[in-house]
């Protein structure tokens, strides 16, 4: 026993020795590293130009928090690896965090002072809540704002200030089974919500348990329909936002959309879970539904998981009287309090460079934020045409800047699916949203 205790003590002493050594090496933030410009032309390779300011930084340790389904993907890790070979003075530690958890984690990090140097979500929402550093000076120094799609810039902008760099972008389209359409004698995809109702009714076969369409109860996704009908749930007068949840067009759109399931029975009632993305694609992929609304990521998913359904897959813009949809995707930002803004911003530039943005699209189905990157032949895929068309008019979901209003909007849609009156429900949601916007700090 004694021998064991002595051995254990020995091991602990050795380990504590290792610990203090590791600590010492990490605690040399001002150590100077001689960084020389590379022999090759980085710009020719589709990368940002060599940045003298970053090269002159002392030894810097970056901790970056990326969404869990990005953090360990090859394009991201390869970009970090190459970045570190050009800037050996910068080390990067990547942490994967669930998308929905990012807000809480960043809030706690900012309030405790132990902040990461980069985080991944919707930069504007974090800027609005005082959780992100404004990066306008770095943007001005970069001078490439005009290369970005306007929607991408909107995802990082709050009240005129830019809080991050958009990483990828997406929007929603109408996905349908062209074989089912042919068999029902339907020549083309529906162009309005009324046409969608008629087409979905035709495609519904109760005996076979097949539906013409799959609705979903996501407030974010339904906002796409609202935009496509030519209105918005938030109105902006300069920097001042006002809630517009009970706008007559919103009321009518929600009524028609939910009626697809509740009145016409040409769609199943969406499941009650918060995550709404799995149900429609599963219904479509298994042949239980002929159409649904989703993003380009589901094209890749149908190809991988439901190859038979992929053979008959066709896409179109969302059926609506106007054009556009919700603008999704994500952006990178520097949480409030981080001292490594320059290095962090440079790494963001690398992630959205031509070399790695196209890889993000091809390997991960995450589409680029720079307009010229859509000239790549990868985007000649006819299934992506309606997506690229919709991107031009897509609008970001700014309600996310007001969490309570965002919840009221999502809950309103869910309640209508559960049987509540549309008008009354949206009036109540409007009241909550007005209060939330007024109380926002």
């Amino acid at each position: 026993m004694k021998k064991f205790l002595v051995a254990l003590l020995g091991v602990l002493l050795i380990l504590s020795g290792c610990q203090s050594q590791a600590g010492n090496s990490a605690e040399k933030p001002n150590e100077k590293v001689d960084v020389k410009p590379p022999d090759r032309d980085l710009v020719k390779d589709g990368l940002p130009a060599f940045n003298e300011e970053v090269a002159s930084l002392p030894k810097t340790d970056l901790e970056i928090w990326l969404a869990a389904d990005y953090a360990n993907e090859k394009p991201i890790q390869d970009a970090i690896k190459e970045f570190k070979t050009i800037y050996p003075n910068i080390s990067v530690k990547t942490v994967g965090i669930e998308w929905g958890e990012m807000t809480n984690k960043v809030k706690l990090a900012v309030s405790s002072g132990a902040v990461p140097d980069m985080a991944h979500n919707h930069a504007f929402a974090f800027g609005a809540q005082g959780l992100a550093e404004p990066l306008d000076d770095l943007w001005n120094g970069w001078g490439e704002e005009d290369q970005f799609l306007p929607g991408g810039i909107e995802d990082v902008t709050w009240k005129g200030a830019k809080y991050g760099v958009p990483l990828d972008i997406n929007t929603l389209i109408y996905l349908y089974n062209k074989k089912a359409f042919d068999e029902a004698g339907i020549k083309e995809a529906p162009k309005t919500l009324d046409e969608l109702t008629e087409v979905s009714k035709k495609l519904t076969n109760k005996d076979k348990g097949q539906f013409g369409f799959v609705t979903n109860a996501s407030g974010w996704s339904f906002f796409g329909n609202v935009v496509a009908e030519g209105t918005n749930i938030l109105k902006f007068d300069g920097d001042n936002a006002t809630a517009n949840l009970n706008d007559p067009i919103v009321v009518e759109t929600m009524k028609k959309y939910t009626d697809l399931a509740l009145v016409h029975k040409s769609s199943p009632v969406p499941p009650p879970q918060e995550r709404q993305t799995d149900h429609p694609v599963a219904m479509f992929g298994t042949g239980r539904a002929a159409s649904f609304i989703s993003g380009p990521w589901d094209i890749a998913r149908i190809k991988d998981e439901f190859p038979d359904a992929y053979k008959n897959l066709a896409t179109a813009v969302i059926p609506a009287s106007e054009r556009g949809s919700v603008l999704g995707g994500g952006s990178l930002f520097v949480p409030k309090g981080s001292k490594n803004q320059v290095a962090s911003f440079e790494l963001m530039k690398w992630f959205v460079s031509d070399k790695y943005s196209i890889r993000l699209a091809k390997e991960m189905g995450r589409h680029p934020v720079k307009e010229h990157q859509y000239n790549d032949e990868f985007f000649n895929d006819p299934l992506l045409k309606p997506y690229i068309e919709t991107l031009k008019y897509a609008q970001p979901y700014k309600l996310e800047a007001y969490p309570e209003a965002n919840d009221a909007w999502g809950k309103a849609l869910r309640s209508v699916f559960d049987g509540a009156d549309v008008e009354k429900t949206l009036d109540n949601a409007q009241e909550v949203a007005e209060k939330a916007i007024k109380n926002a700090k």
Partner: protein, 308 residues
């Protein structure tokens, strides 16, 4: 003189030694519990004190907390959803506790009878407890989903045209949550009840049999009173566990339909972290404490009356 002083000195010395030993014993005991007590103090007592302070503040991260007195508590009175969530939690707690304890007791009694083939069952009955709540919820989602779930698929195969939308109806959604809670509770309590039943002296049963008592009477008059202490323990633990339910609700119903399965912890979490009303969230959690205390006290009172 000498002969008198030596014994008295010895007695004094012995007394001193005894006291020293006693002191060392006490000091040793305290030193042994010190690490555990430090952890308890640091990770339970300090957060509780901090929570009490937070409940009197307006605190939204990352801004500093501002003292607002009793404002959070007066706001609570107007929070209809909180009252509803307390009601839902009570329904869930009593439903899952009652059902879970009955299941557990029934299984424990069967296992105690050592019937043939039950040994294999012993391997499986604890599985629900060691399965994570999230996985449990996912399993039941695949069972009860009205479009893609296995239950409705089977009901359709059996000829039912419109099987129920289990998770979309307030009553069935709550019943399913209660059933899952009971399923997990039964798995946790079965070995406890089995151990308690096995500790009841066999001579009691032999005497009862000689007096002509049947199996039911033996269960009511011998088994049940002998394991009352364990029943109370399980009830208290079930109430505390049920009040903390959130993962299953989050995954299966998200508090719906129409807030019919919104439970207290989910509401508190939403207020504190989703809406960033940390101070208000703290005051809501503080209100749960007397609830739990009252229920536990009632249970202990009830059991002590039974035992006496």
């Amino acid at each position: 003189m000498k002969t008198e002083t030596v014994p008295s000195m010895n007695i004094k010395k012995a007394k001193n030694n005894r006291e020293l030993h006693k002191f060392k014993d006490i000091l040793g005991s305290y030193l042994f519990v010190l690490p555990a007590l430090s952890f308890l103090f640091l990770f339970s007592i300090v957060p509780i004190i901090y929570l009490i302070w937070l409940s009197f503040t307006d605190y939204s991260l990352p801004n500093p907390a501002v003292f607002i007195g009793l404002e959070n508590f007066s706001r609570m009175l107007e929070d209809k959803l909180f009252l509803k969530s307390i009601f839902n939690t009570l329904v869930y707690t009593f439903g899952s506790m009652a059902l879970g304890l009955v299941f557990a007791l029934a299984i424990a009694v069967l296992l105690n009878r050592q019937l043939k083939g039950l040994r294999i069952f012993k391997v499986f009955y604890f599985l629900p407890t060691i399965t994570s709540e999230v996985i449990t919820a996912m399993i039941f989602l695949w069972v009860f989903d009205n479009n893609l779930g296995i239950l409705n698929y089977l009901l359709k195969v059996l000829g039912m045209e419109n099987p129920p939308a289990w998770l979309l109806e307030p009553t069935t959604a709550m019943l399913i949550l209660i059933f899952i809670g009971a399923w997990r509770g039964a798995a946790y309590n079965t070995p406890i009840f089995l151990a308690a039943l096995q500790s009841v002296p066999q001579s009691y049963y032999e005497a009862a049999r000689l007096d002509g008592a049947n199996a039911w009477k033996q269960f009511i008059h011998i088994s049940l009173p002998s394991i009352t202490h364990m029943l109370v323990y399980s009830m208290v633990m079930s109430v505390i566990g049920s009040f903390q339910v959130v993962a299953v609700v989050d995954i299966l119903t998200n508090g719906g339909p129409m807030d019919s399965t919104m439970v207290a912890i989910k509401h508190i979490w939403q207020q504190s972290f989703e809406f960033n009303y940390v101070g208000y969230g703290a005051s809501l959690s503080l209100v749960l404490f007397p609830f739990l205390l009252l229920i536990t006290w009632l249970q202990l009172k009830l059991s002590s009356r039974k035992e006496s």
